[in-house]
Symmetry: C2
Subunit: 355 residues, 2 copies
């Protein structure tokens, strides 16, 4: 049995659960490596993957005998087969944060078991990355660094935000990425004041700030990077806020390592924002893995101890409504004694000239 | 009040519901035009959109006084505010096909009402398109037609499926699309035998079939088109199956109009497939709108009466495992007396030469 499924089975035993129904495709991918549609069932008797005709062939090709997962075609299962997967009165875990209310009721009807909430059991396990997962994230970060370095040398007179976003995507895919980790943000001038700006037809102009928030996927794993560059010149006010943001990122990253309490690290930064009267428009960071936003969340609501081999972003930003914004973000790996940037392109003031 | 919200309020009254909580962003977009994150609440006293600091400004800019929607910042609402939105013992609809079990329980706790399933109330309303929605879908279809016509004239010696997919996307965006409606399928040679193929690094070769399944979004509305072309030559077997598929599409489209029962139309096509011993690898079509897959579904399970001003695809396909596949698909508008193709590029045998 693969280590992740074995781990899950141990966890279920600890929770006195007789099995689990897993339908979130991200969790299925994490546990089995499968990206095909289907339902993964951990039961006492066997582990099952139920899929359909479109995927049977490729699923059987990917799974090995060591996975100990039996594959069924959904069309070949009847009412009784489903009822026999578990035993009556079994307590079976489900993903209450993924399963809709409608499907919850269908499960009750189909499997005839007691459904028990599992409170992010698998999502919490996903926080700690395996060495091979870390390698894929590093690759994704490298491609993203190079895409940023490429684009800032290739912004031509007359180019729009949309065109720049497109060139970034093209570079990433050409350099081995599966695709984007999320829709790129390329926000110039006053558009940069919106933290979640969507690229527009605005043409880049002299004097602009350009905010980038970009990332790609490499073999299913994500990267996340934000940088700001200045066109032709930097206004003193931009410089001042840029250095505040950069300093906040450094202080936050310096305080994060195995065992650090995220709540306290964030509280300190919030204090700095308060002293400067800056709004906090979004969280200071998030976990990264198969999904671009995973656990842990970097906010100050609850105590939350950071663990070695987690991957997180640190991304402070300051936004002056209607005028401009500056966010600096890197993807970090959490180590025993520090936190190590996986995205590594320059954070010096960068002034570009339109080519 | 806008017509769609007014319609929903009437429906809720018919169902003896005192209000509805709407969180599916597609439904919120449909009802209000808003693409910002938030929760739309229809209550007796007022209609409410609860969002956060990131979106307040742009939401207030988009809504007019005629919308009769009051905007609140989630940070400024407390426990009592939520409990006061509805009256105790109110029966309030929710989207049981969207809301997770976890959120269902949160809603119960937050709003203190009886939550009632609404069984796709809004999704069913979305089937019938407004004239301005039809215009946007037509625009998306036109861009997709032109992207297909462009790409088949520009496939160069040595190009891979991935590169072709990328050029299609670039053409669509350059010609006004917001972006892709779904990840393009460009499947060549034996890859075309998988209905859900993902573009690979396979280089196009003489003698190949190339299967395209492409679509874009225009101002939020989708298009969907599948075509097959042949490189340098057409094998007789390809020709024979191509003409079977094309004929199935024609027969299906001819049988669809306002009032037609989808179940019967699909049953007839399934009969043809059975006579030829072809597998039915996927459904014969689906609704198209804000989402690429909407209601109605074109399958034979239940009686389902087609309505005027719906937009659907008709997409028969035949797949010979490990060898090749052929699917032809258009997006159609359902009229009183017929169904009218909105994607219109040629369905003649198309042989291309690599340039």
């Amino acid at each position: 049995m693969n280590v992740k499924v074995k781990w899950l089975k141990n966890q279920l035993a600890n929770l006195k659960l007789d099995g689990m129904i897993i339908t979130n495709p991200v969790n299925i991918r994490y546990l089995t490596g499968l990206s095909e549609e289907g339902t993964l069932i951990i039961a006492k008797r066997e582990n099952i993957f139920i899929t359909d005709g479109r995927y049977i062939e490729s699923v059987n090709k990917k799974l090995t005998i060591d996975d100990e997962i039996v594959v069924y075609n959904v069309r070949e299962l009847d009412k009784i087969d489903y009822e026999n997967i578990f035993t009556i009165d079994d307590n079976v875990g489900f993903e209450e944060n993924y399963v809709t209310y409608e499907n919850y009721k269908k499960y009750l009807h189909t499997y005839r078991v007691n459904l028990i909430e599992t409170e992010g059991l698998i999502e919490n396990q996903r926080i700690i990355k395996e060495p091979e997962e870390l390698e894929l994230i590093k690759k994704a970060c490298g491609i993203t660094d190079r895409a940023f370095e490429y684009i800032i040398r290739n912004i031509k007179e007359g180019m729009t935000e949309k065109e720049i976003a497109f060139e970034i995507e093209r570079f990433m895919i050409k350099n081995g990425a599966d695709g984007l980790a999320f829709d790129s943000i390329v926000a110039s001038g006053e558009n940069s004041s919106k933290p979640h700006a969507v690229p527009t037809d605005r043409i880049i102009r002299s004097g602009d700030i350009i905010q980038f928030d970009i990332g790609c996927k490499y073999k299913g794993f994500c990267s996340d990077l934000s940088r700001v560059v200045f066109v032709d010149e930097i206004e003193p006010e931009y410089k001042e806020i840029y250095s505040f943001v950069l300093n906040e990122q450094k202080k936050m990253a310096d305080s994060l390592k195995d065992g650090a309490n995220i709540r306290l690290a964030v509280k300190d930064r919030e204090e700095d924002y308060k002293n400067r009267n800056f709004d906090i428009a979004h969280s200071f960071g998030h976990g990264v893995g198969i999904e671009i936003h995973e656990l842990p969340r970097l906010y100050a609501k609850t105590d939350n101890i950071l663990k070695e081999n987690s991957v997180i972003t640190v991304e402070p930003g300051v936004y002056i409504p209607g005028r401009f914004g500056i966010r600096i973000e890197d993807t970090y790996k959490v180590n025993k004694t520090n936190c190590e940037a996986l995205t590594q392109c320059s954070k010096n003031y960068t002034v570009i000239n339109l080519v």
